[in-house]
Subunit: 338 residues, 2 copies
DNA sequence: ACTTTCTATGTAAGCGTTTACATTTACAAT
DNA sequence: ATTGTAAATGTAAACGCTTACATAGAAAGT
């Protein structure tokens, strides 16, 4: 059994209060006694019991992270960065992968709250299409701890959003492709998460401001039950055969972008000469296809750093911005030539 | 502030002990009082404070997961499955991404242990090349909680290993390729983690038992500082130009396998006719290249389920096997034709 | 020498549970 | 009625820490 603060105090011939003070650096202790206590700790070893600490402090120094599926290539990255930033700030990450089932989600929320976490981070696409209702439950339940939302906007006291302006990023990407001379652009997407909708809005705005007629016909939703990229490529082929022509593709994520590359390969279209392609998320996948995929980077690392900073600020009672917006940047690779 | 067991007991007109018993189902309570208490809880709401609970029970119902980088495509999957299985077993996952720095790692271990976790899971390649020394520190520190290691073997009391027999999987893959008539096989790897070594051993064994001369010349280590797959492809080109010929590639992971596909594309070699390629891990990346990559699946989902089952068994005082070995299976796609 | 004023340390209450042990209640057997 | 027994519930200690408050000791101002 590991030693308690009491054992240490006994060996050092002081009271537990003094030991606690040394451990926390909370108030002044004479240098000589501090030294004595530290020596004892070094000699015998001591790890604080954080449950007990939590009771005293009323804080676990732990933040709950709620996300649907941390093995998703995008969410995994978010979770990783969050964990790193929380650690540096002296907090730990309690990971909860909720899956996509609402009831399960609610249970998790209760569980996570019973740990008396100091805050909650909702990782965006967790809440596909239902931000309003689902998050509401969570926010209601979490009464007093601050709730941070990554990658989705939400308005509520005590709720803070950090997000990338997907609409704007997409607007700029589409505009850039358009202005490079490619006017028939296929927009590929498959889900309408919060950011999914924003991206689509951005694409539409770009086409509208270019006064491009008929762009709506080239907005193509890929059924979610098509799992393999090969099949998505076939789906695109069918779409093209059905009379749609396009010389550019903008995809709502890198997977779909790669499917477009595959489509091009199947039809011996050269990329980017015959077909320019832009993906989204700038994930590791961009390097897996040939040619390498141009993609939009949503600054996850910066976003998460900001999120944690905001959270810590809130926990320390500071006034923090309820909403922070970053903008994405296009990382140009080999599937575009503008 | 959320209600305590004391508030509930007061409202129900019973003692806190009775409420606690109802909550835990630990010992018999008259049905009518149980009902009354449940009604109160339903009406007013109550979430247990798990720090306090931990003090009483001496257990946090929490398991620490230590891994280098949860955004790594392989580790992310492992972490996800672990979290899922732990949840079903009533435990939560405290995620610690240690990075690849030893001192940082030690700090994390102390932190995680101070949470008085009930167990520790080390996710394999965390401990690249240093399983023996690094894990020793962790195991020493964690004195009394069981330690599980995923994907690396280790012998020590109170330490349990769950792993995939990479040596055997690789042996079988290489043998199958060899017996299909491809005798000049390039073996690509870049790190020598525990499983990395095993894979290489397996490849060597296969070649030796086929009495293939000169296979050692085709064992090719890709420098770790080559980051992009495109550059790895160039590296392979150089290797080929330096006089090595091969009609098969076996890669220690899917990234390298895809680099081989890229290499083939650069030189207009058709896959699998001119060059057969096998990757490892059966990750999402296998679907990103064209043709799709044949890969070895290491049964992560099954492994993690087994790991958690073993852990729970140990925590319940049962005798559990110290080492459980699974075997991988080749998932044949389009980069092979045997 | 005698308050006053710090500074350093100790004392003890409190955090919300669990649970061994004590007590009460209910009921059956005498 | 009286006792015995089992079931239901209550009491209080323990878990390891923080911290407000109390106290002692030292330095300093008179």
């Amino acid at each position: 059994m590991s030693l308690t603060i009491y054992d240490i105090s006994e060996k050092a011939g002081v009271s537990i209060a003094t030991v606690s003070r040394v451990l926390n650096g909370s108030s002044k202790v004479k240098e000589s006694t501090r030294q004595k206590i530290m020596d004892i700790i070094d000699e015998y070893g001591y790890t604080p019991n954080s449950s007990a600490r939590a009771m005293g402090l009323k804080s676990m120094q732990t933040i709950g992270i709620l996300c649907a599926d941390s093995s998703d290539i995008f969410l995994a990255k978010a979770v990783y960065y969050l964990e790193q930033n929380l650690q540096s700030a002296g907090y730990e990450a309690l990971l909860c992968c909720t899956g996509y089932n609402l009831d399960a989600k609610k249970n998790y929320v209760n569980l996570i709250l019973s740990k008396k976490v100091d805050g909650l981070i909702l990782v965006g696409s967790n809440f596909i299409g239902e931000v309003e209702t689902e998050n509401q439950y969570i926010i209601d339940s979490s009464s007093k701890v601050p709730v941070m939302i990554l990658n989705a906007s939400y308005h509520h006291d005590n709720v803070y959003s950090i997000l990338c302006d997907d609409m704007n990023s997409m607007y700029r990407a589409a505009t850039e492709m358009y202005e490079s001379g490619i006017h028939d652009i296929l927009y590929l997407y498959n889900s309408l998460s919060y950011s999914g909708r924003k991206k689509l809005d951005g694409f539409r705005m770009a086409m509208q401001s270019q006064k491009e007629p008929g762009y709506e016909d080239l907005i193509c939703r890929v059924p979610e039950d098509i799992s393999s990229l090969e099949n998505v490529a076939d789906f695109i082929s069918d779409y093209a055969k059905a009379g749609h022509t396009f010389h550019g593709v903008i995809a709502a994520d890198d997977e779909l972008g790669i499917a477009a590359v595959k489509y091009a390969q199947k039809h011996s279209l050269s990329v980017p000469e015959d077909l320019s392609i832009i993906g989204y998320n700038n994930s590791i996948l961009t390097g897996c296809c040939t040619p390498e995929l141009t993609s939009i980077d949503n600054q996850l690392e910066i976003q998460t750093r900001c999120l944690v900073k905001t959270l810590i600020g809130v926990l320390n009672g500071q006034e923090m911005p309820q909403k922070t917006v970053f903008s994405g940047t296009m990382v140009k690779r080999k599937t575009t030539n503008f």
